[in-house]
């Protein structure tokens, strides 16, 4: 019996140690360290269900430990025949009714939050007015993410900039297979389905920060490399970013000669798939703010060697199964370096992922983004969204 106990104790001590050592994961990735409204709501629900369930587990374990130690066969009792109990109505009723009550306690907030997380109506501010909604069209592709800001004439890929003062609404679709959009520290996940099954959700970050997003539905060999970032910046910084991004036409001429050559090569070889500036082209990732990106292709360190390898090998071994391997270009070493030089000039804004992490807060009510005359458009937009919701409800 002693050996038993010490074994259990050792295992227990080990697991506690392991837990302390690694805490609850990293704040930019962990669902256990919520940094947004959605993740915080879900965290509450997780805590509630964990508490209820730990209570159940404790009850089971107390009875269990008592029974196993108390009624274990004792020496000399090998032939003892215990009373053959048929059952007990009182007890059986008890352990039917109590779980039902516990489940009801969990079911009510579950239903409440399920509806709250699906609420796509505009937020209402302190004065009782409806906030302007920022809607972003999200497209999942093997193995990257594309974002178009509705009505703002901005397109990005791999990184999605959001202001911290409000919810940002996503309307999501896939261009190929099913993906799933997940930013654990900000919001739970939602599948991104191909044609005909558009999904909507909101994300909201309470704090500025650079949050990691992951694809959570198996989508092919590079499923585990389909990361993206949510860059949550203060409203003022967001406003500036929007203005800077809107200014990009893709025809800006870079200063250095090499970069100009690179730009030419870029238009000949890359532009068919990759756009610079706002564009509906989403064959390949949009590169408007490429040089500001935190990671290359979502997961690799942003170094010249990595970028060179990517362009040279078309990412064949870096992201197995990626679609760029079919790109028809054939470039010399020198040409690739020229293109890299050009790509490194694609930094239209002061506002970069670093702005999310430097702690500078700039206030704004973002009203500049929604000029009066565009309001009609917005309303139409909302109507459309309502229609979509109605269809879904049917």
């Amino acid at each position: 019996m002693k050996g038993w106990m010490s074994r259990i104790k050792a295992v227990f001590a080990l697991s506690v140690l392991a837990l302390i050592l690694s805490g609850c994961g990293e704040p930019f990735l962990s669902a256990l360290q919520p940094r947004g409204e959605g993740a915080a709501m879900i965290m509450e629900l997780m805590i509630l269900s964990t508490v209820i369930m730990l209570f159940v587990f404790l009850v089971v374990m107390i009875i269990y430990v008592f029974v196993v130690f108390k009624f274990r066969q004792k020496k000399g009792q090998e032939d003892h025949i215990p009373k053959q109990t048929e059952g007990s109505h009182a007890l059986e009723t008890l352990w039917t009714v109590i779980p039902i009550i516990l489940l009801l306690i969990l079911a009510v907030p579950t239903v409440q939050y399920t509806f709250a997380l699906a609420d796509m109506n505009p937020e209402v501010n302190e004065e009782g007015e409806e906030n302007e909604q920022i809607w972003i069209d999200v497209t999942g592709k093997q193995y990257w993410w594309h974002f178009e800001y509705e009505g703002l004439d901005i397109t990005t890929s791999q990184e999605i900039y959001i202001p911290t003062d409000r919810r940002v609404y996503l309307s999501m679709i896939s261009d190929d297979v099913i993906h799933s959009f997940w930013v654990p520290s900000v919001q739970g996940k939602m599948d991104v389905n191909p044609t005909g099954n558009q999904n909507e959700m909101f994300i909201q970050a309470e704090e500025e920060g650079l949050y990691w997003g992951k694809c959570a539905e198996l989508c092919g060999p590079s499923h585990s490399l389909m990361d993206f970032k949510v860059v949550a910046v203060s409203p003022g910084e967001f406003e500036q970013w929007v203005e800077d991004m809107q200014g990009v036409t893709g025809e800006e001429v870079p200063e250095s000669d090499t970069a100009q050559d690179g730009q030419e090569l870029f238009s000949d070889n890359c532009l068919a798939c990759h756009a610079v500036g706002s564009s509906p082209n989403k064959v390949g990732p949009n590169l408007t703010s490429f040089a500001d990106r935190d990671k290359l292709a979502g997961v690799f360190d942003f170094t010249e060697e990595n970028l060179y390898e990517w362009i040279d090998t078309k990412g064949e071994n870096m992201k197995p199964g990626n679609m760029m391997v079919d790109a028809p270009y054939d470039l010399e070493e020198e040409e690739i370096y020229q293109i890299i030089e050009y790509l490194m000039t694609l930094s239209p804004s002061e506002i970069t992922p670093e702005s999310a992490e430097n702690g500078v807060y700039q206030d704004s009510d973002l009203s500049n983004l929604f000029p009066e005359e565009e309001e009609e458009d917005d309303e139409e937009q909302e109507d459309e969204n309502d229609e979509v919701e109605d269809e879904e409800e049917e």
């Binding site: 369930m53 579950t110 060999p221 879904e392």
Partner: protein, 618 residues
């Protein structure tokens, strides 16, 4: 003619006997061998997966190969390991528990096994034919439609063939339980293992057709230009998810209910008490099965079904916790006041209670639809279903195998090695999967070939991999034990555990006709009743007479082999259609042979039976 168990036979004749057998006890052994083979294969795949995930950014295996391993691990473990191993137990035990001489349709029973076997082999041929399926065991469209090579074709057709076998086995057990019970064996006197196997068979009957339809549509999309799931052509990918989970969720209960049954046999035996709340146990089983069909969309909370559907399925799912809780408490109170012997099957049963409770707890947490937005498709889910399937089904299978090993083979596995197996496996299991709950919440999605450094995921992944090695070591101890025990071949009595149910009232292993005379069942736990109130021997319900037995047949093997050959033709088409023609001809020929030939079986004569002793366990 059939051979008796202790007659020494040459290898050739033994092989022929097993290829043609229709005896449920021999089919059980076939299922056991097939299931263990695939269990080891799936385990090997799991080890490769865990080695790949031992450290961040590991390049041990390629992304493509990882996806194939991960797909085949899930598919193999569910369809080709867990289910056949449960069928092994059902075949070995269920007819004996109800006092039957065989299952209702011995020929179909053999056919069911060979279909499973050839389906499983066909699926695994894909490894050598350009790559295994690489789209997860769930094979979500359109990924499964777009997947290159023939991997998914092997998946669709292989599972279709083995699915036919499963469906037949299910129907067979349903009819057996309804029609073949011995006099006095009323429904409410049936042992819980028989009850749960019966209910699981009913689930098979209703759940597998959904899979059949889904696989049929998938096959047509991939091989014959169908567009059921191709969004470009107006197909809808969500329909696959619905079809798959309408099958997939009851499948979980098809696996776990018989395991519940195993524990409901072991716990009373080794507590020396009758099962506490027998009728509520039966009721809970039926209720779990019924509710099991109402909750499939909880696998689809993030699909975008909307808050109304999500809420309904969330609450329905939570409801299943109630009958499951009833079972846990009934087991605890069966032990309460008992005289508990810590034999190895009992130790497995005792380990099952907390691990399955953890699996059930996380199940309720997952049922909470809003919270599931975080859990879904993360390692939290991986941890949850391994706690249910390894901590429930696999512990149940091994507990059952050790418990009924004497009945199946007449030998006893070494208790000391059993305990070694248990501790290695159990510690390894908890090391592997407990930390995965946290990995998921810390942001690690499932089916990830790689995780990145500096994301706080390194330590738990390392612990998880270390645990996997413990589980592998445990399994090796079990195999060693099996080999040593069978080589020694020390025979034990018919009732080595001092058990309670009918199967322990006849010799181990039982004679090929099971019961010389139909037994008379005088209550729940018939052998216990006879031990307490009679002379410890099962009373006969009829005078000694001739026994009618079925003849062996090679047709089930040929029939399945034909489908196996035809499947290659269907996958490769073109000139390979010849194979399909040959294969279907063999299958149709075997069916024709079976239909045209009058096979009335044979009789064992009363005089021969009298020579063999009294056939009871005394």
């Amino acid at each position: 003619m059939s051979t008796t168990a202790n007659q020494k036979a040459g290898f050739g004749s033994t092989l022929w006997e097993y290829l043609t057998t229709v005896d449920h006890k021999k089919i059980a052994i076939l299922y056991l061998i097939g299931g263990l083979f695939f269990f080891l294969l799936g385990g090997l795949q799991a080890m490769l997966i865990r080695i790949q995930l031992i450290s961040p950014d590991n390049e041990f295996i390629s992304a493509q190969f990882y996806n194939e391993l991960m797909t085949m691990h899930g598919t193999t473990m569910i369809f080709l390991a867990a289910m056949p191993l449960l069928f092994a137990l059902m075949n070995a035990v269920l007819p004996l528990q109800i006092g039957a001489r065989d299952v209702a349709f011995p020929f179909v029973n053999a056919l069911g096994f060979w279909l499973f076997f050839f389906g499983g082999i066909f699926l695994n041929v894909s490894w050598f034919a350009g790559g295994a399926p690489d789209v997860g065991w769930t094979a979500y469209a359109p990924l499964s439609i777009f997947s290159e090579g023939h991997g998914v074709d092997y998946y669709a057709i292989g599972l279709q063939i083995s699915g036919f076998g499963t469906l037949m086995a299910g129907i067979n057990f349903i009819v057996t339980v309804i029609n073949m019970r011995a006099p006095g064996m009323s429904f409410m006197r049936m042992p819980l293992f028989t009850w749960t196997s019966f209910i699981a068979s009913v689930l098979i009957l209703f759940a597998f057709p959904a899979l059949t339809v889904g696989l049929f549509l998938l096959t047509f999309d991939r091989l014959f230009g169908g567009n059921f799931f191709d969004p470009e052509m107006g197909g809808n990918v969500i329909i696959w998810e619905h079809l798959f989970w309408i099958f997939g969720h009851p499948e979980v209960y098809i696996l776990i209910l018989p395991a519940f049954g195993v524990f409901s046999e072991i716990i009373p035996t080794f507590s020396k008490k009758r099962l506490f709340g027998y009728s509520s146990m039966v009721f809970a089983t039926v209720l779990i099965a019924f509710l099991g069909f109402m909750v499939w969309a909880h696998h689809m909370f993030t699909v975008g079904l909307g808050p109304i559907a999500n809420s309904i399925f969330a609450v329905a799912t939570m409801a299943i916790a109630v009958p499951t809780g009833i079972k846990i408490f009934n087991w605890l109170f069966t032990m309460w006041g008992g005289n508990i012997r810590l034999t190895s099957p009992m130790v497995f049963a005792l380990a099952f209670i907390p691990t399955f409770t953890i699996g059930g707890i996380t199940g309720v947490m997952l049922a909470s639809a809003a919270a599931d937005f975080q859990y879904h498709d993360s390692y939290f889910v991986v941890a949850h279903f391994h706690y249910v399937i390894v901590g429930g089904v696999v512990l149940g299978i091994f507990a059952g195998l050790i418990y009924w090993w004497p009945k199946m083979f007449g030998t006893m596995l070494n208790e000391k090695l059993n305990h070694w197996f248990f501790w290695l496996f159990f510690i390894g299991f908890n090391l592997t999967f407990f930390v995965q709950h946290f990995l998921g919440l810390m942001g690690m999605p499932r089916r990830y070939w790689k995780f990145l450094p500096d994301q706080g995921l390194d330590l738990f992944n390392l612990i998880s991999t270390i645990g996997a090695f413990f589980m592998a070591a445990g399994t090796i101890v079990f195999l060693y034990n099996v080999i040593v025990t069978q080589l020694k071949g020390e025979k034990v009595s018919g009732d080595p555990w001092d058990a309670r149910t009918l199967e322990w009232g006849i010799p181990s292993p039982p004679p090929f006709y099971n019961f010389k005379q139909e037994p008379l069942v005088r209550g729940l736990d018939p052998l216990w009743v006879e031990k307490r109130q009679g002379n410890g021997k099962i009373q006969p319900a009829e005078p000694l007479g001739d026994i009618h037995m079925p003849n062996n047949s090679f047709a089930p093997f040929m029939l399945s082999l034909g489908l196996f050959i035809a499947a290659f033709g269907v996958v490769y088409q073109g000139s390979m259609w010849v194979l399909a023609a040959i294969g279907f001809a063999i299958t149709a020929g075997s069916m024709l042979y079976r239909s045209m030939k009058d096979d009335l079986g044979y009789h064992i004569h009363k005089e021969d039976l009298e020579k063999e002793g009294d056939g009871s366990n005394g």
